[in-house]
């Protein structure tokens, strides 16, 4: 790899020795010999297996639950319902004061998405747990469901989640996150061209090769050791402490070895109920998603819709940008209010635009709850923004890379959310990309700098 040292030569030390050198990964010897211990590479005598009874409906009231036949099934040790969970209604981000608590560990009176956990069955074998789960009788009254974000926001739409009371997350700024900078309508009035486009994405499953799971062992000292593949050890520990109303000192989480996560293992889903099962039975408990559960039940990346309206001048300057973003949280918040908020800060893109208006909505629908995945909140936005940039360049007959140089943010520029730009390197990246991709741009762009004014 060629390291071009001319960029930022006067603002960085040049005593870096590691970059460009290959160093062995410390975990690789374990991987290639099969010695790396993933959570499931453990076996404990007397270990029970947990299987979930899940909702077959997108939205339904639960009239009754009958677990009597399941409890009689050979090998079944314990059957858990909502009443067994000390603090059944939770939300992950309550740890950073992002409420309200809106999700049940086990469904209580209602299900809001197809696949929602209703009853947990603990048995001597996986097979017995599965067979017994099939014998749990749940009487549902099916309710109207809503799957489309814009339908969900219309008056009269079925309310997905009563803990919110409306089908959007209520920020302190109101029904959406808002960014207001300059006068966007004046910008559109002044623009030579205005282009409004709509972009949409589907949910994306991370599909890690190792499915989500944990093994919990009750210890002799009244503590519980939880071997888990969570990506969020302390989030999970603290949320489990709340859900089980158990001091954190009783919980010992062992993890860090994750067979693929990509953001799909940051929700607090398997650990609290498995620890509860271990507490109530006094036995080790294994709760691991089947491949089908991993694909259908675990949170995907949120579906998004992004509407971008830009005002652009013939000389290439973008003078106004208005963005309305919709993030489909599914039935519960999990990390989506945060994702939608990130989008609000991100939508102007790495460009300096004098007039910006952004609204981002976190919307509830009767779909699988979505959550984190690699750059959630901004990845789909970047797709939409950069496609939009190409369309704008085409509209004014300009080279798409030169068009980006004209609008690139530089040190000292004020961003729409009132953070001054510092440490920008977009221009230098594009200069290098221009060379590497053999996509030449005019010399004046190759002479630009992110941090030297007047270039």
């Amino acid at each position: 790899m060629e390291l071009r040292k001319s960029y930022f030569a006067d603002v960085r030390k040049d005593d870096l020795h590691e970059i460009g050198q290959a160093r062995p990964r410390s975990d690789s010897p374990g991987h290639v010999t099969g010695k790396t211990a993933f959570f499931a590479d453990r076996n404990f005598p007397g270990m029970l297996h947990l299987k979930m009874v899940r909702s077959p409906h997108h939205h339904a009231r639960i009239r009754s639950i009958d677990t009597s036949e399941a409890e009689k099934h050979p090998g079944v040790v314990k059957v858990l319902t909502a009443k067994d969970v000390p603090h059944n209604v939770y939300t992950i981000l309550i740890l950073i004061q992002v409420g309200p608590e809106d999700e049940t560990v086990l469904a209580d009176g209602k299900v809001r998405w197809r696949g929602e956990a209703v009853v947990a069955v603990l048995a001597e074998t996986e097979r017995a747990a599965q067979e017994a789960a099939a014998k749990v009788k749940v009487d549902y009254e099916v309710l109207p469901a809503v799957f489309d974000m814009e339908e969900a926001l219309k008056p009269g739409a079925p309310i997905v989640n009563e803990y919110h009371g409306q089908n959007y997350y209520l920020y302190d700024s109101g029904e959406c996150r808002k960014v207001r900078f300059g006068d966007v309508e004046a910008g559109f009035a002044e623009a030579d061209h205005v282009l409004e486009q709509s972009y949409q994405s589907s949910p994306i499953e991370h599909a890690p090769t190792e499915t989500t799971g944990c093994i919990v062992v009750p210890e002799g000292n009244d503590r519980f050791t939880c071997h888990t593949n969570t990506q969020a050890m302390f989030f999970t520990l603290d949320n489990t402490s709340i859900i089980l109303q158990m001091p954190g000192s009783k919980l010992h989480f062992v993890g860090g070895t994750v067979g693929g996560g990509f953001g799909g293992k940051v929700d607090v889903i398997v650990e609290p109920i498995a620890i509860l099962g271990a507490k109530l039975t006094g036995r080790p408990v294994c709760f691991v998603y089947s491949r089908e559960e991993e694909m259908q039940i675990s949170s995907p990346r949120a579906a998004e819709k992004v509407v971008i309206k830009d005002g652009v001048m013939k000389d290439g300057r973008i003078v106004a940008r208005k963005v309305t973003g919709y993030t489909d949280a599914g039935a519960y918040s999990r990390h989506s209010p945060y994702g939608a908020q990130k989008g609000a800060g991100h939508y102007p893109g790495p460009y300096t635009i004098p007039n910006v208006w952004i609204d981002t909505y976190c919307v509830y629908t009767n779909r699988t709850p979505s959550s984190a995945m690699r750059g959630f909140g901004v990845t789909i936005g970047d797709f939409a923004l950069e496609v939009q940039m190409d369309k704008l360049a085409r509209l004014i007959g300009m080279d798409p890379l030169e068009f980006r140089f004209i609008n690139a943010y530089r040190d000292g520029d004020m961003k729409a959310h009132r953070q001054p730009t510092e440490g920008a390197a977009l221009i230098e990246c594009m200069q290098e990309a221009s060379r590497a991709a053999n996509w030449p741009v005019a010399e004046k762009y190759m002479a630009m700098s992110s941090y030297v004014k007047g270039t």
Partner: protein, 160 residues
């Protein structure tokens, strides 16, 4: 449930267990014998993480009943290093950064070993074909393909 006796060699050692009829080889190896190098990624024969070598052939241990393996010679990734020295494939995976999370790695190495046992100097296309039953979600496959080609070159140089 009546137990069924099974007996086979695992990485050269004699193993004998009583298992429930219907137990997969994957579960027998992991839960009974304690070799956790084959991984359960899907338990339905689609991901390749459970790949092992049975009598020289690549097999999915999650779809193989343990009781059908009586008298077989089974190889897993945990048995490849000899005397603490890594197998050339293990060395190549390490050097080529062909592992990230590591969950698919033991299965990948099994698939690659069967390829090189049958085809010591494979083309890139043959490597891709041989690994096509093994899913990796981290690397994008390219470092894995390079590792297998590197191991093949190392083998042919040693043979020459």
């Amino acid at each position: 449930m009546a137990k069924v006796p099974v007996q086979f060699t695992l990485n050269g050692s004699e193993k004998a267990e009583f298992i429930d009829s219907g137990t997969t080889l994957l579960n027998a190896l992991r839960d009974k014998i304690g070799d956790t190098s084959p991984k359960g990624g899907c338990h339905q024969g689609t991901c390749g993480a459970c790949s092992v070598i049975i009598d020289g052939e690549l097999r999915l241990s999650c779809l193989t009943l343990a009781e059908t393996c009586n008298g077989a010679a089974i190889t897993t990734t945990s048995g490849l290093a000899e005397g603490g020295v890594l197998h050339p494939l293990q060395r190549a995976f390490l050097d080529a950064f062909a592992t990230q999370c590591g969950f698919c790695t033991p299965g990948m190495i099994m698939a690659a070993k069967v390829l090189l046992d049958h085809t010591p100097n494979p083309s890139r296309d043959e490597v891709v074909e041989a690994l096509s039953g093994n899913i990796c979600r981290c690397t994008g496959y390219e470092p894995i393909i390079q590792a297998v080609l590197t191991a093949a070159r190392a083998n042919s140089q040693n043979a020459a």
